[in-house]
């Protein structure tokens, strides 16, 4: 579904990511974990096309998308949930969800029913402006918005950031349901132990802009193995 091969990314003249090789198979849930400032958000933005790569290739669903913009990648089926939620604060909940309709343009099946089923609070708050929702509700809205267009791949940047622990558990469960019921492939970056251990089927560890380890489900069950790469 998604392949990054020998990807290098810089901010101006400062290199951030080096030799990144990542593979995500169809319907898989893959995590990328690491401490603050190791390049997680840079990596997810490069995946999404919000940052250009210096060298290397990114293929998505069999096509080379290395030089395509974020809008084209979204229309091809990438649904993005940015760090800090980034809902459109002056649009209503319903208008925010409508923004997701452009994602995966080739697929006409909009997932309003599923989204309102996963996140019933969004039904109640349909006409409320998104900026007035709580942090957790905004995160649900950001996930719902990305799901509306029925994306092939969901790309999440720290879904637990700024969200209270009980809501984090709900979000983890909801994302597992999405993966199982809608068959959506998921890639996420995270430094929250609970999310990494309970959501990822496989996880890459990133440090100083490089992939330094890959953990399968057996090692993900071990708290020690995971916390080695997190600021816990």
């Amino acid at each position: 579904m998604l392949n990054l091969t020998d990807v290098h990314v810089s901010y101006g003249t400062t290199p951030i990511l080096h030799d990144i090789d990542i593979t995500v198979d169809s319907e898989e849930i893959v995590g990328i974990m690491g401490k603050n400032g190791v390049g997680k958000t840079t990596l997810i933005k490069a995946v999404m096309g919000l940052l250009e790569v210096d060298t290397g290739t990114i293929t998505f669903d069999g096509d080379d998308v290395t030089s395509t913009g974020a809008d084209v990648r979204a229309r091809r089926g990438m649904g993005y949930i940015p760090q800090g939620r980034d809902v459109f604060p002056e649009l209503t909940v319903e208008e925010n969800l409508r923004m997701g309709e452009t994602i995966h343009a080739a697929d006409n099946s909009l997932q309003y029913e599923a989204v309102y089923d996963y996140f019933p609070i969004l039904t109640e708050r349909r006409t409320q402006t998104a900026g007035t929702l709580s942090g957790g509700q905004q995160q649900l809205l950001a996930i719902g918005r990305a799901l509306i267009g029925n994306p092939k791949l969901l790309v999440l940047d720290e879904p637990s950031e700024g969200v209270q622990p009980s809501i984090v558990q709900d979000i983890t469960r909801d994302l597992q349901r999405v993966n199982e019921e809608l068959e959506t492939t998921i890639i996420f970056v995270e430094q929250n132990l609970h999310v990494v251990q309970h959501l990822a089927e496989r996880c890459y560890a990133i440090d100083k802009g490089m992939i330094v380890d890959e953990l399968g489900s057996d090692r993900l069950d071990s708290r020690e193995a995971v916390t080695e790469y997190l600021a816990v």
């Binding site: 459109f88 002056e90 208008e95 267009g149």
Partner: protein, 296 residues
């Protein structure tokens, strides 16, 4: 004040309201939605007025000539956006200097191409007479055009997918792009709409004012910028409220004294409003909404 005088001041108000709203909408869309202060806004109106007038002189019926004026200004705006303006997004001062330069060039170019003035198109519909007064029916009907323009803008920006995407792009361009929105095209479309609105203003006022001159557009600039500041950043909320408020002040003082006093009163009112409401009417409405939500 007798009935005729009341009717007269009402017509005066409708004319002022229409002038302020129509002078402002194009500028407000480009500023409010894109953050570009278009100092060539008056010359966009000029393009609309000249294209309308010259088309009418070629024998086209006035409504068709007006359509030509709007289309010509829209195309002109798109060409300018693609060649110059798009390089200046996020650079407020640079864009002001560039659009001021464009304004100077256009005024002089118009003078070179068409001379100091061109023949006016006659004002349609004649006049309404009442008591010892009479008023141009066309100028009164312009208020209807202003309200229709605001309604179309309201529907476009709140009820259509395009409008939702345009507002989302203004709020957070990167996230809008990651939702599949071609933000580059969105900026171009929004600039084209602002240009079309300026062209519409030029087209509507071509038959309503004296013979068009290269300075035709500058007659609209003061009202447009004052209304944008008094209205605040929201086109849909600020423009009609600013048009209504400033139009009322101008109409009342013009009726009581002279047109000059009316204009001075409007400017004084604008200064007071800026002091009292630094975010304009939009800011006031937003703060009322916020406190209403909090009280809920």
């Amino acid at each position: 004040m007798n009935g005729y005088e009341l009717l007269n001041v009402t017509f005066q108000f409708l004319e002022s309201f229409a002038f302020i709203v129509l002078a402002t909408v194009g500028l407000a869309v480009i500023f409010g939605m894109m953050g570009i202060i278009n100092l060539a806004h008056g010359e966009f109106i000029l393009v609309g007025a000249y294209a309308t007038t010259l088309s009418a002189h070629q024998g086209l019926p006035l409504p068709v000539a007006m359509l030509v004026g709007v289309v010509a200004t829209t195309i002109f705006g798109i060409v300018l956006e693609r060649t110059i303006i798009r390089r200046l997004y996020g650079r407020l001062l640079d864009s002001m200097v560039a659009t001021f330069g464009i304004s100077l060039v256009l005024v002089q170019l118009t003078r070179i191409l068409f001379g100091n003035s061109i023949d006016q198109v006659s004002t349609p519909f004649g006049a309404i007479s009442y008591g010892s007064y009479s008023y141009s029916l066309y100028r009164v009907l312009l208020a209807g055009a202003a309200i229709a323009t605001l309604l179309v803008l309201y529907i476009l920006f709140t009820r259509t997918a395009f409008g939702i995407r345009a507002r989302a792009t203004i709020q957070d361009e990167e996230t809008a792009r990651s939702m599949g929105v071609d933000t580059d095209r969105m900026y171009m479309s929004t600039f084209a709409i602002g240009s079309a609105l300026a062209g519409l203003t030029g087209a509507l006022y071509a038959p309503a004012r004296a013979s068009p001159t290269p300075e035709f557009g500058s007659e609209f600039l003061v009202d447009a910028f004052v209304a944008v500041v008094v209205g605040g950043p929201s086109v849909l909320v600020g423009t009609p409220l600013a048009g209504g408020f400033l139009g009322l002040i101008e109409a009342f003082f013009t009726f009581q004294w002279t047109q000059f006093i009316g204009t001075v009163a409007m400017l004084v009112a604008a200064i007071v409003m800026i002091r009292l409401l630094p975010d304009g009417f939009s800011g006031l409405v937003e703060s009322v909404r916020t406190s209403w939500r909090e009280s809920e």
